[in-house]
Symmetry: C2
Subunit: 368 residues, 2 copies
């Protein structure tokens, strides 16, 4: 076991130990060298979702006074212990980051050139607390192989490498997809999760959504007499609530994904609202017209026109409601520090169900 741990890179080792029970970790720690032990303790201290939790301490660093040739010979000795030597970080004796050289710079400089003369001083850095998703955006913007993590005193603590970022992007997308489908994100791959844990991850949200549906029962009961006198109204309930729900989950998907990739920001809420109002209006008119046609053709004969108007106006309103709710909720969640992906399609659909039946009943009272 300790052999496996020693062969791993420091970031992967810390991740593995985080996943083990505490007493196993306590049994393993004394078997490591003191340096490794302190290193693992430091890395394990960074919470998930931060740059710190992804970084490795196995970076290559040199002094600014070293020559290019000297730096290369240092690297030759230490390279096998480093996660990457394509970027070499220049630090002062206190460990503060002064600049960065690529391996390419070192090879192609004259051998006697001092590192200070060739290093790039404009280093883009992040702190250990930096949000990991924002870090991905930085890596993506600049096509970096690695990104240095520094503390408040600009001391180099570690680096995050391209392979960890690629893994993270996939994991984040999976988490978001699961949340959007109203599932607590699974920790393990689907086929390796136990059925019991799966039921737990799915059951929680299902019960919340079930509870929301109790409101639809209350609303439908309240309008019992309306339905009694015009039974044909019930034919269109699924049509109406599904139209609103579909538009709502489209909007929630667009905005949640836009926030995740950085195309949409909370500050753009007014533009989002404007666009969704317009889109909702257009889609609402289209679907409302279809609803009018379908309900007048398929109605039971009596009061067909009134029912048609009720259905059409309800669809128009609920589609706009769905577009606005579905788009603003993820922004609101992000604003208050929650994951916008919690605005799942089923969640928006449930909200729309309740609102849809309310609007339908109100429209029926108006037209009938």
């Amino acid at each position: 076991m300790i052999g496996v741990l020693e062969a791993m890179s420091s970031d992967d080792r810390a991740d593995l130990l985080k996943a083990l029970p505490e007493n196993t970790v306590n049994a393993l720690l004394p078997l490591m060298t003191r340096v490794e032990r302190n290193d693992v303790r430091k890395l394990m201290a960074h919470p998930e979702g931060t740059a710190g939790s992804l970084m490795t301490t196995a970076f290559a660093s040199i002094s600014k006074d070293r020559t290019a040739a000297g730096a290369l010979s240092d690297l030759r000795v230490a390279a096998h212990k480093k996660e990457t030597i394509y970027y070499v970080y220049v630090t002062d004796p206190q460990g503060a980051l002064l600049g960065v050289c690529t391996l390419y710079d070192l090879i192609f400089a004259r051998p006697e050139t001092r590192v200070e003369q060739i290093m790039n001083r404009d280093v883009i850095t992040v702190t250990p607390e930096f949000d990991d998703e924002e870090m991905v955006k930085l890596m993506q913007r600049y096509d970096f192989i690695a990104l240095p993590v520094v503390d408040d005193a600009n001391r180099l603590l570690g680096i995050v490498t391209h392979d960890d970022v690629l893994d993270l992007v996939k994991e984040e997308a999976t988490e978001d997809a699961h949340r959007m489908g109203a599932i607590e994100p699974l920790e393990d791959p689907y086929l390796r999760s136990s059925v019991l844990s799966m039921i737990g991850k799915r059951g929680g949200w299902l019960l919340v959504l079930f509870a929301a549906q109790i409101l639809t029962i209350t609303l439908l009961r309240g309008f019992e007499t309306t339905f009694e006198t015009t039974l044909a109204l019930i034919f269109f309930i699924p049509l109406i609530i599904s139209s609103g729900g579909n538009v709502g989950s489209q909007s929630a998907t667009l905005i949640t994904r836009g926030l995740a990739v950085g195309d949409v920001h909370v500050s753009s809420w007014a533009r989002v609202l404007g666009r969704e109002l317009l889109t909702g209006l257009a889609l609402g008119i289209a679907l409302g017209t279809c609803g009018f046609a379908v309900s007048t053709i398929m109605g039971s004969g009596s009061r067909t026109l009134e029912i048609g108007c009720t259905v059409a106006c309800t669809i128009l309103c609920i589609v706009i409601f769905g577009a606005v709710t579905g788009s603003l909720l993820p922004l609101l969640l992000k604003r208050i520090g929650l994951d916008p992906a919690m605005t799942s399609s089923p969640f928006v659909a449930s909200l729309v169900d309740v609102a849809g039946i309310g609007i339908y009943a109100a429209m029926a009272t108006l037209f009938l």
Copy 2:
């Protein structure tokens, strides 16, 4: 314009030209050097979704007979034109790929060593037609910075680099998320897409889903007399169809995402079916019990017990139906070569709506 094109890497240039109208491309091509022009034509020929469409021809290659020192001096001259020089590909005079050296290997070999002696001959390669998502899985498994693309004769055509893969992973996740939300994937970021194009991308699926809802109207009309005699049944329609729809979109999400990241394969359909039957049964019993409680408590007084049984059994059946349909549909779509993400949450919900009302009516006939 031609200056911008010249400054771009060959893969990005080909992507840009693909996005331009044909007559603009025809005007630009003659302005390039012949080598660049042929290069762009070759790269543009690869369809989206393949490794070929992501590759760049700006790779570093050397002959196997070159010495380490000679290779480094070649690189010094050509490096600025290469997308990466951290991997150097060894080719024969016909361009066939023989092996790969890292820049690290070249620097730390004795200068007179021949490349042949230090190169790694076990190179993992892909063909230009190789599926880009499968390629991402390879890059992720091996933590490569670049992956070589070869033709059937093993001739090196280009390389795909880590930054393009990172971009691709994000794009694919966005496309999948959009499809799962029943939206034709947008080409541009949300705030930069025109409202009109947005309406188009959303409207298509909405109309399909609307058409599916016409079936719910037909079904509800068919059971008009049942609802007439026991009006309280209608109170539970939204509850029932939403429970089934929620479980169905959970299953669709889990399997679609599992397929995307490679955790689930079409060949595992029997295991998936088994797990979903079990999960559906457990969730169905839980939600069915809640449904029984809610409908007996909130019912109108008469025939409460019968209605309770009808609601409970319908929920049990529709939850299992949702779990099975939601999980098998993405596998089926993948099997026939379509994108599994087309099994969107709204799509599964619509199927469940239709089935749910059918089952509800059948159960009502049974119990009442």
